[in-house]
Symmetry: C2
Subunit: 143 residues, 2 copies
């Protein structure tokens, strides 16, 4: 798989990220959610009264994609959307009790998974890793 002098970094990165994401999603499904549902819940929780554009930005998806997830999650009774009375273009998203409960469950699952993922990596190496990821993002123009 390599007509290259050295194995391309991006390929390794992409493959690893895919495997990790799949494993994480499996852990979340186990706990009654999915990766996009978790990210949506997390972004709503982490921002008092954010609008959808901001939420999408936090998650790293487009607004149209978020609309899709919010529709499903609203149908499932995990959250509500209502117009902001101050600016009626904006829809304010809020978790229901069921949404809060699922958030807490998935948060536990995410903590367990993160611990598993970090096994054998010192804080120092984790820091280095984060630095390298930041460098790659910079090299690619993304942030």
């Amino acid at each position: 798989m390599t007509p290259f002098e050295r194995p391309p970094v991006g390929m390794n990165l992409g493959r690893t990220a895919k495997l990790v994401a799949q494993a994480f999603d499996a852990a979340l499904v186990e706990a009654g959610g999915t990766l996009p549902v978790w990210l949506t819940l997390l972004s709503v929780k982490s921002s008092k009264q954010a609008n959808q554009r901001e939420l999408a930005g936090m998650i790293g998806i487009q607004g149209a994609t978020l609309t899709h997830h919010l529709n499903a999650m609203e149908t499932q009774g995990l959250l509500t959307r209502r117009r902001d009375p101050v600016n009626r273009r904006v829809h304010l998203v809020e978790l229901t009790e069921a949404g809060e409960a699922l958030f807490e469950t998935l948060r536990q699952a995410a903590l367990v998974f993160d611990k598993r993922l970090r096994a054998g990596l010192s804080d120092e190496r984790l820091k280095e890793f984060a630095d390298m990821l930041a460098l790659l993002r910079a090299n690619v123009g993304g942030m």
Copy 2:
């Protein structure tokens, strides 16, 4: 965005991989391809007479997904599929001249992109980075 003691590694990894993949795809589109087309061409080139199951494994996708791409690429005249006379269950995939030409074009684009992505990273740090990715894969059970 963090009801966590420390920022989860997986989140950072996933976000970075997505940005890098999007930038890479944009570079390939510029050169007349796409990421999945490139990966398919690369896997076919890197394996003398592989069957589709093996190709899919190399790329890291399911067989059904590969079928989809091969259909499109066959229609575009980039490759041909024929039954293996030795084992008629197997379909042998081969690039056409157009496929070979596109492979070479995209290979150049990939080399340029990889160089950009690696900017500012010594071989030593790259090695460390690859090691950490391998550790994450191991922690998650993938390979």
